[in-house]
Symmetry: C2
Subunit: 229 residues, 2 copies
């Protein structure tokens, strides 16, 4: 790893405050690696070898059963994944693949566990990340069990608009197939739900979605949990 990259990595929230000695230990055995698009990085059921940290690009966590497949989370920089598996030293519950060309920092599991045990700042950062992700999943479960497909889509659009600067015009960060899988519906249904949102001031052309009247859309989205979140 070059020293410029080293500084970049040390500045990440996960490593900020970590003692230099410990940080050196963390990255001494680490790899900073580039992967092309659509590459499977890990498979569910495997034992964790490395903690993965997304430096650049986009990663999809998904799971399969029988002949089905679903997207659990979609991650962007700077985020770890399979942190829980590394901490507990248990098999992955999800698989991961790149959605774009992606740069990933891989730290061997034993190193992570060692430094975690002796560096308080790192431990706190790990907990913070875990707690954040836990809350994200709680929101997902609430969304799935309490809202219809159209409502989930509406919520996602409002969320994405917020992330992209609340301009009322958003760009899909990934394909509609992936979005459908993430929202828990078929691609066909996502299509239908999108046209149904016309009644709520939403229009979609290609990868661009425009919200004409945000309040109208919020009416549908039943924003209760997002207000609190």
């Amino acid at each position: 790893m070059h020293s410029s990259e080293r500084n970049l990595v040390h500045a990440l929230p996960l490593f900020r405050g970590v003692k230099d000695v410990h940080f050196d230990q963390l990255i001494s055995g680490a790899f900073l690696q580039r992967f092309p698009q659509h590459v499977v990085l890990i498979n569910e059921g495997q034992q964790p070898d490395f903690l993965h940290i997304i430096i650049d690009g986009m990663v999809e966590l998904f799971a399969t059963a029988a002949n089905r497949e679903t997207t659990i989370e979609i991650l962007r920089p700077v985020t770890t994944f399979i942190l829980a598996a590394v901490i507990r030293d248990e098999v992955y519950l999800k698989s991961a693949r790149t959605l774009t060309p992606t740069q990933i920092l891989m730290i061997p599991t034993p190193t992570v566990r060692e430094v975690f045990a002796k560096d308080a700042a790192f431990a706190r950062a790990v907990v913070d990340e875990l707690a954040l992700r836990y809350r994200g999943l709680v929101r997902t479960v609430k969304e799935l069990k309490l809202h219809s497909g159209a409502e989930r889509l509406a919520n996602w659009i409002l969320d994405m608009d917020r992330q992209q600067g609340e301009t009322g015009s958003i760009e899909l960060p990934y394909g509609k197939r992936t979005l459908a899988s993430f929202l828990g519906m078929t691609p066909e249904n996502l299509s239908r739900n999108l046209t149904a949102l016309t009644d709520y001031s939403v229009t979609c052309h290609g990868r661009r979605i425009v919200i004409a009247d945000r309040e109208k859309l919020q009416l549908l989205a039943q924003q209760k949990d997002l207000i609190y979140g």
Copy 2:
């Protein structure tokens, strides 16, 4: 708190290895309190005041939206809840109510955060708990998105059988209404799914469920993720 209770609490996984000074600090401001059945302990949207630890009894975490309600998790001793909210110092995403008379240890949020910052053993225990719960939620999401109602029920029955000693005869730990809400279906549908499981060697009388042929049931349950879990 009596000294016998104190010792009991100190022996909990969450506090094992915590320095005596720090443990004293944790419980000095804590309450050990008994609640009757069906009492709401916390409401989603509130700011966390205490970390809750279930010493005895059973607690349901649930969430509401519009006029709907759903069960997210059902917890038994010895488990914490709203740990993520306490760690991040953000509002609760779920509400909690007792399902049975319950004894709960309540530690003020600031104390938890202080001790967490200076006691490595406690920090590790917190992370362990968080990671465990995170993985539980991942399983929930997979279950919801990949399996039908009948399959989820089958999985739940097999899971419960395992927890109760794999005797092939299990006792419902809570009402069918609650179970239905937890599994993400209506009480009517749970009833129908239970009768449908007759074809898979499952019979139900009152609160008792008997599995005649476990392998037959596993066929339906599509156990993939549980084998790995």
